[in-house]
């Protein structure tokens, strides 16, 4: 399997855990994986990306136009990274914007409309709605991963991902994470990409 997956969002949203789960699950399926994270100053509220390259022998960063799947934790960040996507790539985006202190005028709805005009395969999810049963938007990273896996676009086996969630997540958060993931799977299944 050759698959480039791009995760993007704002520092603190939990993209790193989601990308580690993808990488670990792919490795458990026997794939070679490379990935790259944003670490350091930009983590403090800046734009962050994780590039996960499954089956690739090359560089850790995805070239433009080659990502098959995007997990966007924030609408403007989806637009910012859209040029990395294949024309028929699957974009899964959170509808809820994160407004920077310096730019309160920014409108997430405009970004969603733009994505609708550009993406052949767009799945818009609402992090607040999706995470309401679990009491915290902290579980959105695992929920959006569930949507991606449930949609069939990642090529990842849901049980392998569940195994990795169990291995990685601390005991007291495990059940909520498992439920968030399964809720995501169900939602993603409605879209049935491929």
């Amino acid at each position: 399997m050759n698959k480039d997956i791009l995760l993007c969002g704002v520092g603190g949203q939990g993209t790193v855990l989601a990308s580690k789960l993808i990488a670990a699950s792919a490795m458990a399926m026997g794939e070679t994986v490379h990935s790259a994270e944003t670490i350091g100053m930009a983590q403090r509220g800046g734009s962050v990306t994780s590039h996960v390259r499954i089956g690739a022998e090359g560089a850790p960063l995805i070239p433009k136009g080659e990502a098959a799947v995007m997990l966007a934790f924030e609408p403007a960040e989806a637009v910012r990274n859209l040029s990395y996507m294949k024309e028929d790539g699957v974009v899964i985006v959170n509808r809820i914007p994160v407004k920077p202190v310096t730019d309160s005028d920014y409108d997430g709805g405009v970004m969603i409309d733009y994505l609708k005009s550009k993406c052949k395969n767009l799945i818009v999810v609402d992090a607040e709605e999706l995470c309401r049963p679990f009491g915290s938007s902290k579980f959105f990273n695992v929920a959006i991963l569930g949507v991606a896996v449930g949609s069939g676009s990642t090529g990842l086996d849901r049980d392998k991902v569940l195994d990795e969630i169990e291995r990685t997540v601390p005991e007291r958060f495990l059940e909520a994470n498992r439920q968030a993931f399964l809720t995501g799977i169900q939602l993603g299944g409605n879209y049935g990409v491929k």
């Binding site: 560089a59 202190v101 310096t102 730019d103 733009y114 993406c119």
Partner: protein, 598 residues
């Protein structure tokens, strides 16, 4: 341990463990910090591991252990080498017995740094070898080889990964833990270990004779490779090699030459690559190191070759490469059309800027705000420093007038004072930076009778680089609890005339303390003490009641990322709020409160 999915920095750490390192020291700095953190996780006490107070101390500790025959590694970011350059330049003359690898992580972009300096250049300046890995997997093997070369030639060597190697992940076959190598112990020999002009003269000649031999040795080293054939060649190294590979894919009409050891340059290898070549393109980040070596070779050997790169403005002059920029440069050089791929986003709506900001609940915000309030209407200079609190520069706080390098804020506040004695000169320094390079600046101020206020922003950790301990935290990297160095006592012993410790969230008291200090002559210090919010767990989250009159003072004055305006109403994002209460303190109508009714 078997196969592990690790960060490049983890691969470097495992490589050093496999090579039998007995001592590892360093100072935190993005992108190098996780090397020592990885070793801490796997160390059973067999390796002496330390966060030294700064890079100079780290290098000196490791050098002496290498004199005794122990294998040692030092880690730092590129600007850290500037601090460590004094011992490094001399150590290059003296040499070592045990293998000594100095890992210096460069940061093209720069992504988290002050400069885009190139450590390969430093290698040439110090006349010592440098190794440049192309991937985390390569780094794991290469660092072990670097130890071997260091011992073979009795010289410290540099190992230069870049951010994308350090923070890239790959799976590595990590070995069973290898114990530190046996070593002979320090053998006294003042003719060898004491640097004197005579020794430097003799060793300088030895080094200049030795380096071409190392260059010949490197010409057959596995990390210098040549693929493909033809009259056109691309010379590259480090992460740029991976991008070029991505662009060329299976194409074989271009020679692809990878330089793993930029200094001493593997001239024989390069000359062989250049046979029959008419045009060369150099793709490298930061400085044109490989490019200039090829130019030198062409000059010495009278080769009629067109050499393109940074010096001909064909390569990028600053910042980092990507597969896309590498493709553009290569296609232009080859006279081929650049293929646009993917979704066209030239018509995208304007995107919000996201400069990094202080976290919600960060005590530095309250400290800066207190000083700002106290100095309202008075002329004051605010000299910043390196750490999270550099982010105090952002609007609306706007409390960093200068930032240069580690510790500079304290001395620059003095320089500004000598130009304008009527203004109040402030220096802001974090606790880790204070120990790294702040104390000499304080001594300078007292000795030279400067007038300034030192603000120590003490959050009891090295926050920006990932919460490493330091001499003030009471914990070291060997897992020991140790005596905490007390900043207040240090300042007092140095002769600081007035010292106050305040809680920045007790805003009124903090403001009054600043005002009081501004009216005292001499060197004064205020220690703003409150723990880093990223290490706190339990929060009493705040919300805004219907009393809010939408004056937006909280947004205008403190710039907390947890407060924003949604549908014309000021709201607090409960996912981000930490309940620090700074906004509640300044709200004119007491509209902000927590669940407990406060």
């Amino acid at each position: 341990m078997g196969k592990e999915y690790v960060m490049g920095n983890g691969a470097i750490a495992f490589g050093a463990i496999a090579a039998g390192a007995g001592l590892v020291s360093g100072y935190p700095g993005t992108p190098s910090s996780e090397i020592i953190e990885t070793i801490e996780k796997y160390n059973d006490g067999g390796i002496h591991l330390e966060w030294s107070v700064n890079e100079k101390a780290a290098l000196e500790v490791a050098a002496a252990a290498a004199y005794a025959g122990m294998r040692t590694m030092v880690t730092m970011k590129q600007v850290g080498l500037n601090v460590a350059s004094d011992p490094l330049m001399s150590l290059a003359y003296v040499g070592v017995k045990g293998g000594m690898v100095i890992v210096v992580a460069d940061d093209p972009g720069p992504i988290s740094s002050q400069t885009e300096q190139d450590t390969r250049r430093f290698a040439g300046y110090a006349r010592i070898p440098v190794f440049d890995p192309v991937s985390p997997e390569d780094a794991y093997i290469m660092i072990q080889e670097a130890f071997d070369y260091s011992e073979k030639y009795g010289t410290p060597v540099l190992f230069r990964p870049t951010t994308r190697i350090c923070h890239g992940y790959a799976s590595i076959d990590v070995p069973q833990k290898v114990a530190a190598r046996a070593y002979e112990g320090f053998i006294k020999d003042s003719k060898k270990w004491v640097i004197f002009p005579r020794l430097s003269y003799l060793n300088h000649a030895m080094i200049e004779e030795r380096n071409p031999k190392i260059g010949k040795d490197f010409s057959t080293y596995r990390a210098n490779t040549c693929e493909g054939s033809g009259k056109t060649a691309i010379f590259t190294g480090g992460i740029s090699y991976a991008y070029v590979k991505d662009v060329l894919k299976d194409r074989t009409d271009i020679k692809l030459c990878k330089i793993g050891t930029p200094y001493p340059f593997p001239e024989d290898f390069a000359l062989e690559c250049l046979l029959g070549v008419e045009r060369v393109l150099c793709i490298e980040e930061l400085s044109p190191v490989i490019e200039e070596e090829i130019q030198k070779l062409a000059g010495i050997h009278g080769l009629n070759i067109e050499i393109c790169g940074k010096r001909t403005s064909d390569g990028i002059l600053s910042g980092e490469y990507s597969a896309d920029t590498a493709a553009q440069v290569i296609h232009k050089f080859m006279g081929e059309a650049d293929t646009e791929k993917g979704i066209d986003v030239t018509d995208a709506p304007k995107l919000p800027m996201r400069p990094p900001v202080l976290c919600a609940g960060c005590p530095h915000r309250a400290s800066f705000y207190a000083v700002k309030k106290a100095m309202a209407g008075r002329k004051a200079y605010f000299c910043g420093d390196i750490g999270c609190y550099t982010l105090g520069n952002a609007m609306p706080l706007d409390m960093v007038d200068t930032c240069l390098c580690m510790g500079a804020g304290i001395t620059m506040a003095q320089g500004l004072h000598w130009t304008d004695a009527d203004a109040v000169s402030f220096a802001f320094v974090g606790d880790s930076t204070f120990f790294a390079s702040g104390m000499t600046g304080v001594a300078n101020a007292i000795y030279n009778e400067a007038d300034m206020i030192l603000c120590v922003l003490d959050n009891s950790t090295t926050a920006m680089t990932g919460h490493q301990p330091h001499p003030g935290t009471g914990r070291n990297m060997m897992g020991d609890m140790v005596e905490k160095l007390n900043i207040e006592k240090i300042l007092s012993a140095m002769g600081v005339s007035a010292i106050e410790t305040v809680n920045p969230f007790a805003l009124e008291h903090a403001i009054n303390t600043v005002r009081k200090m501004a009216d005292i002559k001499g060197v004064k210090a205020i220690i703003f003490k409150a723990p880093c919010i990223a290490l706190e767990k339990n929060f009493n989250k705040l919300h805004i009641s219907e009393k809010c009159i939408s004056c937006k003072k909280c947004i205008r004055e403190i710039g907390c990322p947890a407060i924003s305006i949604i549908d014309e109403k000021v709201v607090i994002d409960e996912g981000l709020c930490t309940g620090c209460g700074l906004c509640a303190t300044l709200c004119p109508v007491s509209a902000i409160g927590g669940d407990d009714g406060e």
